[in-house]
Subunit: 336 residues, 4 copies
């Protein structure tokens, strides 16, 4: 069978998802689209040769009988309402991050889904589908380095635009680490500390960069992450898990080893879009396959909620300069 998909939001990431659903992945097609900008969306679909119906509202698209599942790629503030509408319609939905712009909003989605009684929501944390993180998790789960004790991580960007300010290194950047570490470690966070040290001259005025974020988990694992978004030299994602008998690390992305100009080594990506581009394919193919089977197999609404709660605690910790507790309710059996 072919899964009929309705796409809400035809901007950059929406267009990429439309193309991969239609022309790269197996078992799905885009039958309906919606966007705030009708003309641009219709022009895109024409040019890309995707014969989808345009709907004037997200809600109309969600209600359309031919739409069997929904991909939400609109801007963040619209996510909560659109996901709630999908739940109300009983339709599976893949929602790009964030699930909602507040923990409270994410909580409402969790409650609506539980009330509905069936898992429908997946959140777009694509790192869980990255071949490198998967290999690392497999090694950890196999006990290759024993129980995890410490994690040393870094999330580095060469530069960020002027509009990237304030807490965005938490809400837009560190949010990926928040999701991926608890998945990697099968653990939950209990506290966070944010350290703002010496600022690079290459960061603009509205941003303190770099920062170091320290997370503690229920098992006592300590995670230190360097967030450095004006590091100049590359988009560089590091993750080293120190276990009782060794250290396992996230593999570097594949690049051509060179010996030239008095140096040897390999490349570091400069464009973040290239780092996880393959994981989007894996993520959405897995979502299609699970959806056809009536399941949610990826990061769910509860994961989206936990990410929001943690990000809010990080922001508070930055302001207070204190070790700040992260208070999470127990994961409901519904999401087990």
């Amino acid at each position: 069978m072919t899964l009929n998909i309705g796409l809400i939001g035809c901007g950059g990431i929406g267009q990429e998802h439309a193309r991969r659903l239609q022309f790269t992945l197996n078992g799905a097609r885009v039958v309906a689209i919606n966007d705030l900008h009708r003309d641009a969306a219709v022009a895109f679909a024409d040019k890309a040769q995707i014969p989808a119906t345009f709907y004037d509202s997200a809600d109309a698209l969600i209600q359309a009988p031919e739409v069997q599942a929904v991909v939400v790629a609109s801007w963040g503030p619209a996510h909560e309402e659109q996901v709630l509408a999908c739940i109300a319609a009983g339709k599976p939905v893949f929602c790009e991050k964030p699930l909602a712009v507040t923990a409270e909003g994410a909580r409402r989605i969790v409650e609506a889904e539980m009330k509905h009684g069936k898992n429908l929501v997946q959140v777009g944390f694509m790192r869980r589908y990255d071949a490198g993180y998967r290999a690392l998790k497999a090694a950890l789960d196999a006990g290759t380095v024993g129980d995890a004790l410490l994690v040393h991580a870094a999330h580095r960007n060469p530069a960020v635009p002027e509009m990237y300010v304030g807490d965005m290194n938490i809400t837009d950047t560190f949010i990926h680490e928040i999701d991926v570490f608890r998945w990697l470690l099968n653990d939950e966070y209990t506290s966070v500390q944010v350290i703002e040290g010496r600022k690079t001259r290459h960061a603009h005025a509205g941003l303190h960069d770099p920062v170091t974020i320290l997370l503690e988990t229920r098992q006592g694992i300590r995670i230190d992450t360097e967030i450095f978004v004006a590091c100049r030299f590359g988009y560089d994602i590091q993750c080293h898990v120190v276990g009782e008998t060794g250290v396992a690390s996230l593999p570097e992305p594949l690049t051509v080893p060179l010996r030239s100009n008095a140096r040897q080594g390999s490349g570091i990506l400069m464009d973040w879009k290239l780092r996880f581009i393959e994981s989007y394919d894996v993520e959405l193919q897995d979502w299609i396959n699970a959806t056809v089977q009536g399941k949610v197999r990826g990061p769910d609404a509860w994961d989206g909620y936990v990410a929001s709660v943690t990000a809010e605690a990080c922001i508070e910790a930055r302001k207070s300069k204190q070790i700040t507790p992260i208070n999470l309710p127990e994961r409901p059996a519904f999401y087990a």
Copy 2:
């Protein structure tokens, strides 16, 4: 549109291709199958949930009106006849290597295809679709290390079965290097020398292992390749291109870097099937897309012919212990 494919040969590689065409790739489905063993083939299709019609002969499958394109995954000696039948029927065909078991047979396919007047044949040299080789070729084509002068390569297997004897390290193993180096370097071979040195105690009686094969190209590039199929330690494909200003190398496959047991480093695959598994997906997706457009974009019948001629020269060079010329006609304009 969806391309309707007939599959000839439902053994190991045939089954893998069937699954990826049906459930992984975009734009194709398997509608017909043929195999010497009817019951096993039908049982496979049932279990895999591929609703394809079984045909009693390769020829009947090729002729079947619903079959738009053919994948040949039968045993080698059958390839020539089946590919010729596809050409006669005017149907695009993807043929696993070898195109034919002799250079003469490959020559007959080339002549038939040219007489037919339209490109129809692609040969399954999947390394051209490997992300590592593609990145290496891109670096070379971009002039990253200047003009190529030398290539140092190795093709290592941990072990081979007892039935792997004689010239199989050329016809089954080195054949991949034969195809990929001329593609990588945009060049053609002019001579070959085969050196049999000290034999490992881990090779069985019917095989001289390792051997070193030296190729020369029209541009004077010298390629040395170590073929070592009982190397014990891993499936290890090495390719280092020395250019006028540096050395560019084939990336190692992605594995988890570890520090443990007094060693640091990463893994080497033990199973050759894993090394190029992703390249099969890329290869067949590209073949589907090109076929729908009426084109052949991958390695064609001429490439298959050149590989056969070169392999035969290698075998002669091994016997004679002499530097042996490789005499190739000019590439016909038809294959330009």
Copy 3:
């Protein structure tokens, strides 16, 4: 000229120093020895063919007219008194770490030396003489990665004996990082935080292992160091300096790269003695050469004092679980 050296303490490190002074280095000889165990010391000198006079007391050795410079390799609690005696005698002294077992004791040495009016004391922080740290410092001083912002470090031992307990991971282990980072960064510490996370099952009862220690410097550089002395897999010293334009790291020690047993990579030392063994030669040769010139060129009494003050702040920080200030007086001009 040949520098005549008196050696106090003929245990493990004392014997090694005696041999290198006598048989490896240039321009010195051991003419006098002292130890609590006369017979063992004399037997050692005989066997090693070092024709040195045994003195019954450290003081007698220091006073001996033929002794031009002193090496103190006795146990820690004796260092302060012996170094003070050297200063009183106006003789250059190389003192193994610690300079004194308390910051107060180190302070007394600093004051005595300043009162004496001439630099005489060098402390045995050998890492400053390690080829790797020197190359790293040269790269940093050359601006290779711009101004330093963060340091990520680790000090890992495979195991420690039962007698290694309590604060010894600070006083015996982290003490090396304390000295080497301020030298590497040309900076001074202002605060410290010690984090005790999940304890490895391989640590014995009297030790919390691993711990993470966070240092802050006057320039705002943040240093995180993992101290993990029961890590099992190797003696592994890591130091990565994140600057405004890149990351520069401590080189790994030279080992033979191997491809074997499905892994590729190089070795990690298991024996800490091998890691810095060459730096002892460089350190003592430099001390000999500077002493002959009437200078102290290596880590001086002030450096020893700062290390003691910092270590005491680390111990306090561990107890209090608070960010603890490190209060250092300004470096006296005498030590500029």
Copy 4:
């Protein structure tokens, strides 16, 4: 005791040896010097503060009663006569490579030394003292990768001067590989083939560069070495030994790993003088210690002779483009 050394030849390498003997190494001093240019030699000794007597002839220096051992660092054509004079005088001699400019000349030294009846001659093949080669040899001798089957090597220089022409890539460059591989493998050569392939545009007119040299040993080990002296990117010495169970490689020299400018990796030396500088210290210290014990422990006259015979076979092989036998007499028991 202190070994009194006479130095013949006070050019670049002679001056370096003088300084290390006098100021770096243990147990020796330079008491006599000779050079074609008296004034320059005397000025050097004065400036370096080496109180050595100048002798007007090499022979006078060799005869001088205070000279206990001789270092020959004159130009190559003078070596044979000077070494023969040392043998005649019964004095130990360390001779920089080449031992003689012809195999015939080296043969005369071997014969003279055997007639004299005591080992006196060491040849300056310093690679045997390089920490990397020593670690590699230790790994091979320990059976880490089983019996050696193949060696892949490279000797790359960024550039060579105009006066470097013709066979100098054999006599001045490959000569080091000739000596070090037979030591590394405990084996002797039986044949050689030289392949001149595509020439780099960066080589000047008088030189074919790069070339590949293939050596075969008595055990059947096959060694391929790329000699590429205008490679532009660095002074890069590679040696990979393929054994029955793995590959062991020469370690890269220690440099600072960097992540910067979209690349990660470490440095390659540009100056060949830095690559083996430490091995000169180890080599001469070992020579001093062995000489004091009345022994020759390093590469001896026979090794120098074998290197000459092999180099001459390489030159012949290059001219003839044939696989050329290397005919060596059995090593005399005297040199066992």
